[in-house]
């Protein structure tokens, strides 16, 4: 009994450990103190107003407008990359999962094993391997190289997610469809695809979130001028911490929780 109570207490401490740092960022994003951002000095929306370009009086306006423009540019870059990467890796990852799950061929086992490799590969190794490769074949570092680079490992994540869905998906439904005279194309469009749709969506969301947050691989193959949001924030941290980082971080948090929530909703629907 005592042991159980202690365990409960420990569990609470564990949750505090996990959430306290994040909550701290949220709370202090409303702190009015401009000198020492860790000393509470009243409630304010100033930092959010700054980010949304509603207020320029708080800091020297010229540098501030410049940094907001950079922030917006980095968000745009991140979104374009994440949308393209997640689309590409979803198509490729789903195709691989379908092939491995639905066709008996000799290499299926090999595919399943080898597709684990990009996930286990330390990201720094993959990042520099891609950098050397792109430079060696004379491909200029651009958004395209980032999209290619991120896709190499995100395909694996989609593959795993869709494969899990395919494994619990009843093949007899597909056979029934074929028996009833549907062409393979019809069976795929009307039976298989709707059946695995939650898995595909889940894989896509996962790829999107990881892509939005990827720092290491992107950092090595970004070249100059392709600053993504994580790289932008990393740069801000290195230049010295300003209070508006709290507000940016809080908005990012909201965004991720929203997407994770959608993913969870899809998963709970799948289980029913």
């Amino acid at each position: 009994m005592i042991l159980r109570r202690l365990l409960g207490l420990y569990g609470l401490l564990f949750l505090v450990f996990i959430y306290a740092p994040i909550l701290l960022v949220v709370v202090y994003s409303f702190n009015a103190n401009t000198v020492n951002m860790m000393i509470w000095d009243g409630f304010t929306f100033d930092w959010y107003r700054q980010i949304f370009g509603l207020e320029t009086s708080v800091t020297e306006s010229a540098t501030y407008i410049d940094s907001t423009a950079q922030l917006y540019a980095s968000i745009r870059t991140s979104l374009v990359i994440a949308l393209s990467t997640s689309a590409l890796s979803t198509v490729f990852g789903t195709a691989l999962a379908l092939a491995v799950a639905r066709y008996r061929f000799r290499l299926a086992g090999l595919y399943r094993t080898l597709l684990m490799v990009p996930m286990i590969m330390p990201d720094i190794v993959l990042g520099i391997a891609l950098l050397i490769f792109f430079i060696t074949i004379g491909m200029n570092l651009s958004m395209l190289t980032i999209i290619i680079g991120q896709s190499t490992f995100l395909i694996s994540y989609v593959f795993v997610t869709v494969s899990a869905r395919l494994a619990e998906f009843d093949t007899s439904v597909e056979e029934a469809s074929a028996d009833l005279g549907a062409t393979p194309g019809q069976t795929f469009r009307k039976v298989t695809l709707p059946g695995i749709a939650p898995g595909v969506m889940g894989g896509w969301l996962l790829a999107f979130i990881i892509s939005m947050d990827d720092l290491v691989i992107t950092y090595f193959i970004a070249g100059t001028g392709n600053t993504t949001l994580p790289i932008h924030i990393w740069g801000m941290l290195r230049r010295g911490i300003k209070p508006e980082i709290n507000a940016i971080a809080t908005l990012m948090l909201l965004f991720t929780i929203l997407i994770a929530g959608i993913g969870l909703y899809l998963r709970s629907r799948r289980q029913k």
Partner: protein
């Protein structure tokens, strides 16, 4: 067109694109990196296409004094990275183990929600989570304010830019990697066995050491390996929380590529990370096979 033929064609259609993509953009880059690690560094960046083993010599201890000198500092940094990654594994194991137990004992509905709570921070941006720790550990940060407020210290304690900060940061970032495999193993524990052990007169400690620990070893090993791998080559955590004081091999690789422009040497350093990871994976495969043989 026969059915078999059509099946073959659709299989090729499904596999062709992604296979080609991964061959060109995943396996080729790795191959080129291996080749680069055996090439001579050019005088002003770039490479000279000569076989050159001294990139490894410079790290591991042989040298030709006309070229690159052996400097034990590289080996020291590599060993330090192994130590810090190992300590990260240990702390995240110690933190996650009781937590996994706590959740495994819950009622199913509550359990699912708690697991969701534990994994949610994993989706929060890495850089945001690290930034939170900067706020806490800084000289003017939360922790120091608390300590000074309580009168425990008079001057701020240097938490940031220490091994402690790096291990704490990596533990925080990698906890889900450790937690999920552990939870998987603990959830599968056979409660009847634990009760039997208690009925037969074993103390709690004996039950833990002889029944619970062996049964959860696969989870511990799995979690340890997938925590160790990203921790070993990490350079974001040390560069945010370790500053210039705590250098890990990841930072060294970054330097070699982006400032020193000695790509072959950087590639050789990356191969060291790869080698460490491969050794671990082979070890784990062996252990898994040994366990299977014991069971059958």
């Amino acid at each position: 067109m026969s059915l078999a033929r059509r099946k073959l064609l659709s299989l090729i259609a499904l596999l062709g694109g992604p296979t080609l993509f991964l061959l060109v953009f995943f396996f080729c880059p790795l191959l080129i990196m291996v080749i680069y690690s055996f090439l001579e560094p050019g005088l002003y960046g770039g490479v000279v296409w000569n076989f050159f083993h001294l990139n490894y010599g410079r790290i591991l201890g042989w040298a030709d004094t006309r070229y690159e000198k052996f400097d034990p500092v590289f080996l020291m940094i590599f060993l330090r990275s192994i130590r810090l990654a190992g300590l990260t594994v240990l702390t995240s194991l110690l933190i996650s183990y009781p937590a996994a137990f706590w959740i495994a004992r819950m009622r199913p509905a509550r359990r699912d929600f708690t697991i969701f709570l534990v994994t949610l921070p994993f989706f929060v941006s890495l850089i945001v989570r690290l930034f939170a720790w900067v706020l806490i550990l800084r000289p003017t940060g939360f922790l120091n304010q608390g300590l000074m407020g309580l009168g425990l210290t008079r001057a701020p304690v240097e938490f940031l830019y220490t091994d402690f900060a790096v291990i704490l940061g990596m533990t925080y970032v990698f906890i889900p990697f450790m937690f999920l495999p552990l939870y998987g193993a603990i959830e599968k524990l056979d409660m009847a066995q634990i009760e039997a052990s208690a009925d037969l007169g074993a103390t709690r400690v004996q039950t833990f050491v002889k029944v619970i620990l062996p049964a959860t070893t696969p989870g511990i090993l799995g979690g340890a390996i997938i925590t160790f791998i990203p921790a070993l080559g990490n350079f974001i955590v040390p560069s945010v929380l370790g500053g210039a004081k705590v250098l890990m091999i990841g930072n060294l690789i970054e330097q070699q590529f982006l400032s020193a422009r000695n790509w072959p040497f950087g590639a050789a350093l990356s191969m060291m990370v790869m080698a460490a990871v491969l050794v671990l994976l082979v070890l784990q495969l062996r252990l898994a096979r040994a366990r299977r043989e014991v069971r059958t």
